[in-house]
């Protein structure tokens, strides 16, 4: 089920949340809406879900070519997962997951046995077998989010929407679930749109990344494309670590080369203010000499740092091989 977002405009009083947004989401793809708070990504997701509506007269939302702009959320066939799970606290996991099926009109509602079977299938899918009688407060955050996913999938949605699904979880759990979601998506192949402010998450998970800022789309593309060829300085700075040289040039920490101060080809010399070695890599913070303000962050291999016998306070030279100009 492809999603076509066409010229969506949304204001809340004087505040513009979405400024003429158009976007295509391919059938079966995993797309990330990436941006800082206030960029409009969550509002856009909710409009796609039908939980909010765009300003009257502005644009439309199409699911597989069919206009669903006026279709209420309950009938759009979307599965929505909230950042804080929104599980029904007083119901068991089984009841939570079965909810979408239980509230169906009698004519469409599956038989009790079918519902029970579907719940069991979904619990198995999210690897929570046997926990059907538990209640949400007895589970960890990661487990709750998996239940929320199972619940959303119970109604066989055509489109899966996730609003910062891992935002409320610990870093470790976040990483695990991220990997799990990717695998899961590859298995199921459901068109998925998710919102995140974590660029690492977007780059790792998505087939297509949509960078948003201030109610507009800055850039759309594969993770590789937008990382290697960012079109604006905002995108460049938002994705990954970056150093901004005083003359306006950008350079990534791993692109800067460490040299001895007196070597040839050194562009700038500076003093090492901080040195952090973790595993095979080293992060070196360098304060440039001669009037330039600000620290430069360099990522080098541990081997090189040890070879050079680098320590905090040393004077070092930096070479910028591929610094590109950005407007």
């Amino acid at each position: 089920m492809s999603i076509s977002i066409q010229s969506i405009h949304k204001t809340f009083g004087n505040y513009t949340a979405l400024d003429d947004i158009s976007l295509e989401v391919a059938d079966g793809s995993l797309t990330a809406l990436l941006g800082p708070s206030g960029s409009g990504k969550t509002t856009l997701l909710r409009i796609v879900a039908g939980l909010e509506s765009a300003d009257p007269g502005s644009g439309r939302i199409l699911f597989h070519g069919k206009d669903v702009s006026d279709v209420p959320a309950g009938r759009r066939g979307v599965g929505f997962v909230f950042q804080h799970y929104a599980l029904f606290k007083h119901m068991t996991l089984a009841q939570n997951i079965a909810f979408g099926l239980d509230v169906m009109p009698r004519a469409q509602r599956p038989k009790r046995t079918e519902i029970r079977q579907r719940v069991a299938e979904l619990l198995h899918l999210v690897r929570l077998d046997g926990l059907d009688k538990r209640r949400p407060h007895e589970l960890s955050g990661g487990q709750r989010q998996r239940v929320a996913l199972a619940r959303a999938l119970a109604i066989r949605p055509r489109v899966l929407l996730l609003d910062e699904p891992f935002g409320a979880l610990d870093a470790q759990v976040r990483k695990e679930l991220r990997r799990w979601l990717r695998q899961f998506h590859d298995e199921i192949g459901l068109t998925t749109l998710f919102v995140t402010h974590d660029q690492e998450e977007a780059l790792e998970l998505a087939d297509q990344v949509v960078v948003m800022r201030n109610a507009r789309i800055e850039q759309t593309g594969t993770p590789q494309d937008i990382y290697d060829e960012p079109r604006t300085s905002f995108v460049y700075e938002f994705l990954g670590e970056v150093n901004r040289l005083p003359d306006g040039r950008y350079i990534r920490p791993h692109e800067i080369e460490l040299r001895f101060a007196a070597e040839e080809g050194v562009d700038v010399t500076g003093r090492v203010s901080h040195l952090f070695v973790a595993g095979p890599f080293a992060r070196v913070s360098v304060v440039p000499e001669h009037g330039r303000r600000g620290e430069l962050e360099v990522w080098a291999s541990r081997d090189q740092v040890e070879e050079m016998a680098l320590a905090s306070g040393d004077i070092i030279g930096l070479h910028f091989p591929s610094a590109e100009k950005r407007t």
Binding site: L51, G74, F80, F82, H84, F88, F99, H137, A154, I155
Partner: protein, 279 residues
């Protein structure tokens, strides 16, 4: 008792403050309550039960129960509807509605009663119209019901609004995406989440409905055996120097207060337990 040394007073100070609090409590709350029971039985158990069985007393109790039986369900319905509209939706006049709900609290009970007299009394705005249609509101049952409904208006709504505000709408929105209609969402998602707050509000609403004096006094006309609720009947007895009888009837209200407090504590206990285990 856990106490952090940096944030509590010294032992003697604690002792003094606690004693002071207990003394005040006893003086203003326990003593009067005790006095009601003591005075009620001063002339013996016979007088006590006779007072409760008097026809005027029985009709007063009946009227009180009737007023509560109508006011409480009505205000519960209204309170739930208002809280639902206010907390789950954004609409024009929302803040106005919230302020209006508090109106009966801000207004003196006497005024609350007078308002109905001014509207529906013989010389009121609708007086002539009512007289022409042979309808009577003031000095009759309908007036008493209206006054009771008015003063107990806010209880359920005020209890539910902060509760539902704090719970947010995420669960309801989730239910929307899963295809539930409004009624299903309310019955299956919202109602179970608010049931203790609702019970609490109903409890307070009931206590006030049964105990209301000022507003009902104004609209009632004090017709013995007909338009006297229990609080009014107690006043009548007291004014006629039938002190023991008055206190005997007052014990009913005192018992109502004790039962209300007991149930209130039970509800608080349950909600604290659940909050602790759900963390």
């Amino acid at each position: 008792m856990q106490s952090h040394p940096a944030t509590t007073e010294s032992a003697p100070a604690r002792w003094l403050l606690t004693s002071l609090a207990l003394l005040t409590l006893s003086l203003f709350l326990l003593l009067p309550l005790l006095a009601v029971f003591v005075e009620a039985f001063r002339r013996g158990a016979d007088v006590f039960f006779a007072a409760l069985h008097a026809p005027a007393a029985l009709s007063a109790v009946r009227l009180t129960l009737l007023a509560a039986a109508i006011a409480v369900p009505l205000n519960t319905l209204f309170g739930v509807a208002a809280a639902w509209a206010i907390t789950k939706h954004r609409f024009r006049g929302r803040s106005l509605l919230v302020s209006l709900i508090d109106l009966p609290f801000a207004v003196s009970p006497v005024i609350a009663g007078l308002v109905w007299v001014l509207l529906f009394g013989a010389k009121g705005w609708f007086g002539p119209w009512l007289a022409a249609h042979d309808l009577r509101i003031i000095f009759e049952l309908p007036g008493i019901i209206l006054a009771t409904v008015f003063v107990t208006f806010p209880f359920v709504a005020r209890e539910l609004i902060p509760l539902m505000e704090a719970q947010g709408s995420d669960q309801e929105l989730a239910a929307v995406t899963l295809g539930a209609n409004g009624w299903q969402i309310f019955r299956r998602v919202t109602l179970p989440n608010i049931k203790w707050g609702l019970l609490y509000g109903v409890l307070l609403c009931n206590a006030r409905a049964m105990g209301e004096f000022g507003a009902v006094s104004v609209v009632s006309g004090h017709i013995r055996g007909k338009t006297n609720t229990l609080p009014l009947h107690i006043e009548v007895l007291y004014n006629e120097y039938q002190f023991s009888a008055a206190f005997a009837c007052a014990t009913l209200l005192a018992l109502l207060a004790l039962v209300t407090l007991g149930l209130k504590s039970a509800i608080e206990h349950v909600t604290h337990q659940r909050a602790a285990s759900h963390k």
